[in-house]
């Protein structure tokens, strides 16, 4: 599926955008969609946190979610790292 990741805000305030293709199998896809609906609980007093907007296109369906620094699930952090570093 196609992905688009937008990272905004943070101390730098400089927006970053990443797009590409993410090959996922059935179980992996299901897990990703579950994680998109599972924000973490963190400290809302956080200052200079980044904002993360993620969207995934799977055929004619688009799955999208937005997170704050404190609510981004660890699985998505690791996925973002994998996509950005390898991309």
């Amino acid at each position: 599926m196609k992905y688009k990741i937008e990272i905004t805000g943070g101390f730098t305030g400089i927006p970053k955008s990443y797009e590409g293709e993410l090959p996922l199998k059935g179980a992996e896809k299901k897990e990703l969609l579950r994680t998109l609906r599972s924000p973490s609980v963190g400290n809302e007093a956080l200052r200079d946190g980044q904002h993360y907007s993620l969207s995934f296109e799977d055929g004619d369906k688009t799955y999208a979610a937005a997170f704050a620094e404190h609510s981004l699930p660890r699985e998505l952090r690791e996925l973002i790292d994998r996509l950005i570093v390898s991309g």
């Binding site: 905004t8 805000g9 943070g10 101390f11 730098t12 305030g13 400089i14 927006p15 970053k16 963190g42 400290n43 809302e44 007093a45 956080l46 200052r47 200079d48 946190g49 980044q50 904002h51 620094e69 404190h70 660890r74 952090r77 690791e78 790292d81 950005i84 570093v85």
Partner: protein, 337 residues
């Protein structure tokens, strides 16, 4: 008949039902009282604990490139330098910021109650950010392409630590104008501490924020400019006048964007009466502000604070005029009631 649902019934109704002979309501009433008493005792305990002042000790933790804070303690107050230079930098710079606030304003650490100063370094993988999370600071190493280690920059450390000071003094909410003021105060003390750290005066300072965390490949010289908001890099959209105020929803309604307006006014004020007088006026203003304060509230409080400090001969006689004129140059004038 009174059932377990009595727990959500107000006490006066429980009392009335108990008076009419309901044993279950009487029991519930008693239980509620005991729970309230236990809660009160717990609250009193927490409050009495909170009154015990700490010593503002420094602790530096290595996150080991995980997205986890406090993974491994690498250096704490009084210990010798370690092999990791980033840890030593975080230790030294956070100590400099702590000492500046203590020696200049008598502030006992971030919360004025000796809160320990926790720094987390090497956070995440190529993480291009630094943040204050309500209790402690966290720094990424940067991606090495455009950004370098955030923990090593005195203005970044001062900026993040100042978020903590703001949280405990004014707790400015993090959106729209109060949020832009929150960012503004962090940039103010970031640049003040940087100039002290480097031994500069206002004429030789560069008034840049984050110039030492960007690489040569980065399209710009810094993250922000107090002197010339909007010019620090190719992405810098900070306005330097209310005419260009950002009204969008991004960045919590522009907290890192519209802070350029008071930032420019601070720079102009410093050029008139010096950075030490301005730092005192701004710090005392921060003490006086409140959660929802906007730009006009800020200006009104700044002027009143400057007047009080000038009356006590603690700042220049012309402080009120300097502050008023500086804000007028960025399009902010006092509201006449």
């Amino acid at each position: 008949m009174c059932t377990a649902k009595c727990h959500i019934v107000p006490p006066h109704i429980l009392e009335e039902l108990a008076k009419r002979g309901s044993l279950s309501c009487k029991r519930t009433l008693n239980d509620t009282g005991r729970i309230r008493e236990r809660r009160q005792n717990a609250l009193n305990y927490l409050l009495s604990r909170a009154q015990e002042a700490g010593e503002g000790k420094r602790f530096v933790y290595d996150c080991k490139t995980q997205y986890e804070q406090r993974v491994a303690l690498v250096r704490q107050e009084g210990e010798d330098p370690v092999a990791d230079e980033a840890a030593n930098k975080a230790y030294d710079t956070s100590g400099f910021v702590r000492d500046y606030f203590r020696n200049t304003f008598g502030l006992n650490s971030i919360d004025d109650n000796g809160l320990d100063i926790i720094s987390n370094i090497h956070y995440g993988v190529a993480y291009n950010n630094a943040y204050w999370d309500g209790d402690e600071m966290t720094y990424g190493d940067g991606d090495g392409r455009e950004f370098t280690n955030f923990a090593g920059a005195i203005d970044v450390v001062a900026h993040e630590l100042a978020h903590g000071v703001t949280q405990f003094l004014a707790n400015l909410e993090y959106q729209s104008q109060p949020g832009a003021l929150n960012e503004h105060f962090s940039d103010v003390f970031g640049t003040v501490v940087k100039q002290k750290y480097l031994g500069q005066d206002v004429s030789e300072a560069d008034w840049l924020i984050g110039d030492s965390v960007v690489t040569e490949a980065f399209p710009g010289v810094a993250i922000r400019s107090m002197k010339a908001p909007g010019t620090a890099n190719d992405f810098d959209t900070q306005p330097d006048h209310m005419d260009n105020y950002y009204n969008g929803t991004a960045d919590n309604q522009g907290v890192h964007i519209n802070s350029g307006i008071p930032n420019k006014a601070f720079y102009l004020s410093c050029m008139e009466i010096g950075i030490d007088d301005c730092a005192l006026i701004w710090f005392e203003t921060l003490r006086a502000l409140w959660r929802t304060a906007n730009f006009n509230d800020m200006l009104e409080t700044l002027v009143n604070t400057a007047q009080s400090l000038a009356d006590e001969s603690r700042v220049a006689e012309n402080a009120v005029e300097a502050v008023t004129a500086s804000f007028a140059q960025v399009g902010l004038t006092r509201t006449v009631v």
